[in-house]
Symmetry: C2
């Protein structure tokens, strides 16, 4: 008997809501994004609902928007991902913990070490969302005057990942024998010195931490450009993607999975999880009222600033009630930029309409009853649009509690979402194999290399 | 009435014991250094004993010793400091959490952000041990073929600290107003853009996290060279130092405190805490037997390797039973190197004798009864040798439990160590003032600079 396909659910939790008006919604915690007591409660609630993962996006700068827009959102102060996820690891037991780390503004040794450390602390629950960082303001915080060009960032990212995974394999899984009688803490035949020298990095190794419980923390990616899809097909195990609707989702899903087949990878070894902004009501009408009320808290300054980011150009001087003019190419994420331009063209939106949509939340949304939302999610699953979703909550705690208390039980009733965790690691939850150590065959007592 | 001077106690916890034989001692946890459940218990025990801080040293490489020596110690696998301390922050309430971070192999934006995040997560308990990293193997993990020269490292460190403290001051303490009615999450007049351009760093800012609860996390230093002492006198609030005996400790103490006076700093605003390796017995004889038994677990390979590190030269080919020959200058920490050379000369030690001392534990030790150890600590305090100690445990858990269960109550009985925490932050424990924001006077509604 074939088991019914199962949904995988991540919770998008940095920021806790992407909606600019979230913190002003009646009953919402204004400091939900930056209060550890709240975040601990959210993580524990998501774990009780059997979510696969708690996911933190990241930025290496205060977002590059005009201060009059910036001041209206909750993101200017946030916890750094490793400190927050490590604290949450100590107060949860099963839920996966996924953090973004940049291949452009960090170094492979630090990144390999921190994810390995989080994986050990959490008993195998870490995931690395590999990003190349498209925010040009980040470059200015790291001594670079010019942001690195898109394709160059991806070439660097690929070598960065080679080094990180090589460092994770520094030690055989059974290297640390701690033999009290002989006084041998580890077996030197099970230590590999990477000695990597490439175009971007020179890293000797070994890593000063044992191989992670998962072998490698789960490798996640989010890029949707041509280079991003190819890198995902080659190396990712989960993709958090922004897809505007099911048709686009199906094209993306088919594209990435067919790239994997061409590369000889099992397509089931990568889970595609589009972001879905979910607003739950007891009736369709109530749900739409909630969304409209939430949008009413978005200021035009904020909307136009978000639109400027999406386009990679300052558009604040445009006539709010005119159409969007031609916008030149920029260093902004190509896919996000094109989607916004397409909306304006296809739906004939004014600058103001576009700004309000982008400034609230502009991506895939599911606004409805527990039953209608479950219908949508099930349709994506059965029509090969996704393997699940990275769920975005509209406001906290009520928006999260609504999803956990009303939608999750409906998904469970339909048999498409787990009632209990079946394993302990993020790989277990996502149904991913544990990578073999490239330098040590299982039970092979001989080393490939040693110092 | 003048209050009696109080001892400050840090616990040196990475590694959990500096003694190479620690993990083999009968009853010790062989994995004490790399088992979160154990470390959580240790931190909670230290907190019940009212320790000021839990301190993690750090290395950015597997220690540069021959593998036959390396394999005998417990340090080749350790948690990364931020992940471990953040997890401990979630399961403790009062104890300070101090981590080492390198000014040579990290960047100011990342370091400022992580310590700010740890300070927020822990409610004001973070401390930054500023090191310039003297291990040349670390350079090879970060793409540098040659290790940076000593004075150059200190010049870079000074600018690094300027940038980090400037980033911590990016926001006034009351910048985040979260005014639900007006929709203003922060007050733009309370945001400062650093725009630093110096010899080593170009960092725009602002930091994407609110000012730390402590204003700045406590700034700790460990260098004892001329450049290290001067940097400490100018910038440090606690110094973890290696002093071989009380006379040397008094010279160091007087030197650093007088440097502070010359700079116009209050000498009480820096606490000097020498490392003290403490072995507790119910009798002097029992204590010395414990130390000797512990040393018996040190292998010659390990001792000679430690000696090579201390000297910055491979001395493994020397005649073990001959005297130490002249050793040329090296990139190793100058003060540590000189101390070892002085022992050999002054006490006429053979290479083997020197190796066994260095390989076990070579610094200040207090081996005795609760009463004799309290006498020694009190003498250091009253004779201006230190403001307390960074306590090093010989093996875990018994060596830690002995100190907490026997020595701490004796110190409390004498009135020189707290019975209860009087405040909530690490600054409160150490009696340090909270730094003013250099860009915003308290209650000043006008900004120095804004974007």
């Amino acid at each position: 008997m074939t088991r019914i396909r199962q949904l995988h659910l991540g919770a998008f939790m940095r920021p806790v809501s992407l909606h600019t008006g979230a913190w002003r919604f009646p009953g919402a915690y204004p400091d939900a994004n930056f209060n550890f007591a709240h975040l601990k409660r959210f993580a524990q609630t998501l774990e009780r609902a059997r979510f696969d993962a708690f996911f933190m996006a990241d930025h290496l700068a205060v977002l590059n928007m005009p201060v009059n827009a910036l001041k209206r959102g909750q993101t200017a102060t946030s916890f750094e991902p490793f400190t927050l996820l490590s604290a949450l690891a100590a107060v949860t037991e099963k839920i996966g913990l996924v953090a973004t780390a940049s291949t452009t503004f960090d170094t492979p040794f630090h990144v390999a070490r921190r994810f390995a450390s989080l994986d050990h602390l959490s008993g195998g629950r870490a995931g690395w969302n590999v990003v190349t960082t498209s925010n040009p303001d980040a470059a200015l915080n790291f001594g670079l005057d010019e942001h690195m060009e898109h394709d160059e960032r991806y070439r660097r990212a690929r070598e960065f990942m080679d080094v990180v995974t090589g460092l994770w394999d520094s030690w055989a899984d059974d290297a640390f024998v701690r033999d009290v009688a002989s006084g041998e803490y580890f077996d030197p035949a099970k230590l590999h010195v990477l000695a990597h020298k490439g175009d971007y990095f020179s890293v000797r190794g070994p890593l000063n931490i044992a191989r992670p419980p998962q072998g490698w923390p789960v490798v996640v990616q989010a890029g949707s450009s041509e280079a991003g899809r190819q890198l995902a097909a080659e190396t990712a195990e989960a993709v958090f993607t922004a897809q505007p609707d099911l048709e686009a989702g199906k094209r993306f899903y088919a594209d990435v999975k067919s790239r994997m087949e061409k590369l000889g990878r099992d397509p089931d070894h990568l889970k595609i999880l589009p972001g879905a902004f979910v607003v739950v009501g007891d009736s369709l009408e109530e749900a739409h009222e909630k969304r409209e009320r939430l949008d009413s808290f978005v200021h035009y300054d904020s909307g136009i600033a978000s639109l400027s980011i999406a386009l990679g150009h300052d558009v604040s001087a445009l006539d709010p009630d005119g159409p969007l003019p031609e916008i030149p190419e920029s260093n902004a994420s190509r896919s996000a930029r094109q989607r916004v331009v397409d909306w304006a063209r296809e739906e004939g939106l004014t600058v103001r309409q576009l700004a309000q949509r982008v400034g609230g939340y502009s991506g895939l949304q599911m606004v409805g009853t527990p039953s209608s939302i479950a219908d949508e999610m099930e349709q994506w699953l059965t029509e090969a649009g996704s393997d699940g979703f990275n769920v975005m909550f509209p406001y906290l705690p009520a928006g999260l509690d609504d999803f956990v208390g009303k939608v999750v039980p409906e998904l469970q009733r339909r048999g498409i979402f787990r009632r209990e965790y079946e394993g302990n690691t993020l790989r277990d939850h996502l149904g991913l194999p544990r990578p073999a150590n490239r330098f040590f065959a299982v039970d092979d007592r001989s080393a490939i290399s040693q110092r």
